[in-house]
Structures are given as structure tokens and as C-alpha cells.
């Protein structure tokens, strides 16, 4: 698939990020860049702070200190029109049924658009078609399988044709067909030159698509370089194996200016 013409996909710059949740510090001085067109994996075990880091980048959780920039603009001011987000699972309250089509249409809304465009339905159906769920467009998402629900969330992120895509453990608890759909989506995005930040428990089947990996441990960067090897097919969730010969260039904890809250 051709690269995007005339579109420079956004970069992400995180500097000395500190985040606390419920009074407990989770992220301690994390710094990294995601360059244009790069597919960066953010890895680590349970409680390592990877989900909190991406939520801070997206403005879902507040930061204590540090700066986050998307394409050179403070993240809370950066336009979100071309930023896609796939959560690990929906945080939907779920009191009222919602069709897959309605969920995907909501992906067309952003800071500059509170009402969907006239062709929203067509766009949403195309996005559902791309993840193999066009036939379930009118189904209540709560009645779909876990893998299908994850595909709906991918369609919701893809419907706005993102140039920067942030995904939080998109393969967790997902069936094989959904994993294949996701791999195709990521391959197409990579071919188009999109910038991708993906949270992973283990590198797994996506290794060939990952340009670089950052490993977090207890809220600190412990590896920044080539994707670490997983334990093959027997890898356990949360167990990331870093080879000592691999490129490791972790920024020093000191020397970075702590800036105000983002």
C-alpha cells in the first residue's frame, strides 16, 4: 500500500514523565521518543506502568511532572483528528445496548468535530468491513465475542484514518482470527508510514512489525532498542527476555530538565 502523500505523521516525545494514581507513584521519570513512521512497542510486566504511560500521553490520566508532546505540540493541545486509540477493553458503562455501528461512528468524533459527518455511516461500515465485522454492524456489541469486541474497537480507531495510532495490549485475550485481522491492520498502517505506539505484554507474533521496543519495569525504562526476544511460543505474559548483546541505550535519569505538569 502506498505511503501517505503530503502527510507527515505525528511524532511523540515524552520527557521525564511522572504519574501517580490514587496517590501511588506509577511512572518515575520515563523519557522516550516515537519518531515519524516508527512502530514502537512499549513492553513490561504487570504493574510496570506501560498502560499508565499511554493513558498519560492521551490525557486520560493526569501527570505529576514532565512533558508530553505530539508533533511538537503539548499533548493536551495537540489536535486529535488523526490520533487513533485502541484500549485493551472498552471502559463502557454499558447500561444501554449499543450497536457495533454506533460504537464505530463515535470514532469519527474528536476535539474539532462533535457531530459526525454526513457519510459517517458509510465510513463506519467500511471500517467494520476491514475488520470482517460488516455483518455484525447492527448487533449489540455486548453480544459479540471478546475478539469481535476488540475488532470493533480497532474499527473505531481506524475509521478516522489515524496517522498516529496508540494501542494498549490489543492482543490480550483475543482469538486467532482477531489477531490476524489486527496484524493486517498494523501491516497496512506501517506501509502507509503511520506512527504506531503499541503496548505489549510480550513481543509474540508482531515482532517483524516492531521497529524498536522500550521495556518498563516498576515505572522506569530498563531497555530501549531492538525488540527483545520473547520465550518463543512458551512465553508467559509479562516475561520479556532482553538479550545483553542487544542495543540498550537508556537515557540517564539525571540531566533532563523537569518541566511543569503537562
Amino acid at each position: 500500500m502506498a505511503k501517505r502523500v503530503g502527510t507527515a505523521c505525528p511524532t511523540v516525545q515524552v520527557r521525564d514523565l511522572h504519574v501517580a494514581l490514587g496517590g501511588s507513584p506509577i511512572v518515575h521519570g520515563v523519557s522516550f521518543d516515537v519518531t515519524q513512521g516508527e512502530v514502537l512497542a512499549l513492553m513490561g510486566g504487570n504493574g510496570s506502568g506501560k498502560t499508565t504511560t499511554v493513558k498519560a500521553i492521551l490525557g486520560i490520566v493526569p501527570t505529576l511532572a514532565g512533558t508530553i508532546e505530539i508533533d511538537g505540540v503539548p499533548a493536551d493541545e495537540a489536535p486529535r483528528e488523526k490520533v487513533g486509540y485502541v484500549p485493551q477493553r472498552t471502559s463502557a458503562a454499558g447500561g444501554v445496548s449499543a450497536s457495533a455501528l454506533e460504537v464505530v461512528v463515535s470514532g469519527l468524533l474528536h476535539d474539532r468535530r462533535l457531530i459526525p459527518p454526513k457519510n459517517a455511516r458509510t465510513q463506519a461500515l467500511e471500517a467494520l468491513e476491514a475488520v470482517g465485522l460488516a455483518s455484525e454492524a447492527r448487533s449489540d456489541v455486548a453480544t459479540l465475542s471478546g475478539g469481535q469486541q476488540q475488532r470493533v474497537l480497532i474499527a473505531r480507531a481506524m475509521v478516522r484514518r489515524p496517522c498516529l495510532l496508540i494501542l494498549d495490549e490489543p492482543l490480550a485475550g483475543v482469538d486467532l482470527p482477531s489477531q490476524n485481522v489486527f496484524a493486517n491492520v498494523l501491516t497496512n498502517l506501517k506501509d502507509q508510514g503511520a506512527t504506531v505506539l503499541i503496548v505489549l505484554h510480550e513481543i509474540g507474533p508482531l515482532k517483524s512489525l516492531i521497529d524498536r521496543a522500550i521495556v518498563l519495569d516498576q515505572g522506569r525504562v530498563t531497555h530501549d532498542g531492538k525488540p527483545p526476544h520473547a520465550h518463543g511460543e512458551h512465553a508467559l505474559p509479562g516475561h520479556v527476555h532482553v538479550h545483553p548483546h542487544e542495543d540498550v541505550s537508556v537515557p540517564p535519569p539525571t540531566g533532563l530538565t523537569t518541566q511543569g505538569p503537562v
Binding site: 493513558k55 492521551l58 490525557g59 486520560i60 489536535p79 486529535r80 490520533v83 486509540y85 484500549p87 472498552t90 471502559s91 463502557a92 458503562a93 454499558g94 447500561g95 444501554v96 445496548s97 449499543a98 450497536s99 455501528l101 454506533e102 460504537v103 461512528v105 463515535s106 470514532g107 468524533l109 474528536h110 476535539d111 474539532r112 462533535l114 457531530i115 459526525p116 447492527r138 448487533s139 449489540d140 453480544t143 473505531r156 496508540i166
Partner: protein, 288 residues
């Protein structure tokens, strides 16, 4: 004179249809956020607003002492809903605790204020249980205005409001003005409660917001269809309840809610029967 030529019934029907259409719009958003009982908490504070309006009317020496009752209810209900939203957002108090505090505080303040105004608790009964048969043309115009606001915002921003109530994290990541949209739902809830107060009263106002949505959910599987169907069901419930009370000496607000509860029960039974039948056919098909 029949039901359509009686001026009293004309006014009551206009108010009933408008409130029946508007209340389920906000009810859909509240059910989605699992805050179906919010209406009760705000409703009781609205009662304090009614009494405060009554007190203000007495102090100002206006001829009709309850002339400021509805404006008082609007102000108190909006302040209460914004306060609940603020407490929920900040995590200062759990939503159910915040609602309970408002619930009891509202009732207590209402009784105190009405006493200070020289009224009796009987004066509050019309607001507790509704008094649609006493609506005046100014009441009708106020209801038209409030219902118009609910329809305009609740339907006009339905996609954004759905996005925020369905998945807050995604809405935040998308840069949607989540706090403003949540406040909009809270203010709409306050306006709906005030508009519905004359039809079913504050004690039953949540029923008018929630029951049509609960019935619609037995029938449909999408957010938009639930809201649209809920609006239709709300209008039918209100007009049918009102029509019956024209011919029989029954309390309209209570009858509307009872019809709603019965309709929900019937819809639930039909749905579970259809689901069981469908499952049985599937099992029979599998086993040949």
C-alpha cells in the same frame, strides 16, 4: 365537552406529551452511565427549590405564593446536578453517597422552607406526586421551553453524549470536551426533572425517565433505537395515563408509572419467552 375540547385537558395533554417525549432522552444517558437513580436525588433537591421559591414568593408578597416555585426548582435542581457531577468527577464521594446526601438534605430543606413560608406540608403534595390537572398556560409555556431545550441538546449532541457516556477514556483520548458534555447531561437531568414535576411529581420523576428506556431495551439492541423508542413509549404512557384519569377518579402521575411498570413486566416476559424459544430451536437444530 370532551377530552380534546376541555381547556384543562388540552393544557395537560400538551405538557404530558412534551414531558413523555423529553424525559426518556435524558433517561437513556443516565441508564447508560448506570446512574438511573440520579433523578431521585435531584428531584428531592428540586422539592427544596419549590419550597425556597414559595418562601421567596411569600417574602416578596406576590399574590400567587407559588409563582416562584418552578423557577426555584430549576435553580436548585441545576445546582444539585452540577454538584453531584463535580463530586463524581473529583472522586470526593461515591456517586451513590452523594445522591443519598442530596436525597435526604433536599426533603429536609423542603419541609423546613415550606414551614418558614407559612405553608403546610400539604402544599408540597402536588409537587411530590404531581398535579397535572392544575397546570396553567404559563406552566405550559415553561414546559415547552424546557422540553425544547432537552430535545435540542439531548438529540442534537446525541453522538457526542453517547461517545462520552459509552467510553469515557476513548472520548478523552479523542479530545472531546468530556467535562462539559458530562455537565450538559447533568443540567439536562435537572431541567427534565423540573419539567416532569407537574406531571408525575418528584417522587416518581425517575420512573418517567427510566421506565420507557427499560421497556425499549427489551425490544431493541441499539442506543439510538432505544432512545427513539423510549421517547415514543414515554409519550404513550403519559397520554394514556392522563386519558384514563379523565374518565376515572385516579391520580394521573401514579397511574402513568403503574402502567409503565406493567408494560415493562409484560415486555420482559415476552422477551424471555422469545429468547427461550430461540435457544430451544437452536438446540433442536444442533441435535437434528
Amino acid at each position: 365537552m370532551d377530552i380534546f375540547t376541555d381547556p384543562l385537558m388540552q393544557r395537560a395533554l400538551i405538557v404530558a406529551v412534551l414531558v413523555g417525549l423529553a424525559a426518556p432522552i435524558v433517561g437513556t444517558y443516565l441508564v447508560q452511565r448506570r446512574m438511573a437513580l440520579l433523578g431521585d436525588g435531584i428531584g428531592h433537591v428540586a422539592l427544596a427549590g419549590v419550597a425556597a421559591g414559595w418562601l421567596a414568593g411569600s417574602a416578596a408578597g406576590v399574590t400567587q405564593r407559588d409563582a416562584l416555585a418552578l423557577p426555584g426548582a430549576v435553580v436548585f435542581a441545576i445546582v444539585a446536578s452540577v454538584t453531584i457531577e463535580h463530586l463524581r468527577e473529583k472522586g470526593t464521594a461515591p456517586a451513590d453517597v452523594a445522591m443519598a446526601i442530596l436525597f435526604y438534605g433536599g426533603i429536609a430543606l423542603g419541609v423546613l422552607f415550606i414551614g418558614m413560608a407559612g405553608g403546610t406540608n400539604a402544599n408540597l403534595l402536588g409537587y411530590l406526586f404531581g398535579s397535572i390537572s392544575t397546570v396553567t398556560w404559563p406552566d405550559v409555556w415553561l414546559t415547552v421551553t424546557l422540553a425544547g431545550l432537552i430535545l435540542l441538546v439531548g438529540l442534537g449532541l446525541r453522538h457526542s453524549l453517547f461517545a462520552v457516556t459509552h467510553d469515557r477514556d476513548f472520548a478523552l483520548a479523542s479530545g472531546l470536551p468530556v467535562r462539559i458534555l458530562n455537565l450538559a447531561v447533568a443540567v439536562l437531568a435537572a431541567v427534565t426533572i423540573t419539567a416532569s414535576m407537574r406531571v408525575v411529581g418528584v417522587l416518581l420523576v425517575s420512573g418517567l425517565m427510566i421506565l420507557p428506556v427499560a421497556i425499549a431495551q427489551q425490544i431493541t439492541g441499539s442506543f439510538a433505537r432505544t432512545m427513539a423508542l423510549g421517547m415514543g413509549i414515554g409519550a404513550v404512557l403519559c397520554t394514556s395515563g392522563l386519558t384514563i384519569t379523565y374518565y376515572h377518579d385516579l391520580q394521573p402521575g401514579a397511574l402513568i408509572i403503574v402502567i409503565g411498570v406493567l408494560t415493562f413486566a409484560v415486555a420482559s416476559i415476552i422477551r424471555s419467552t422469545l429468547t427461550r424459544t430461540s435457544h430451544r430451536k437452536t438446540i433442536e437444530a444442533i441435535h437434528g
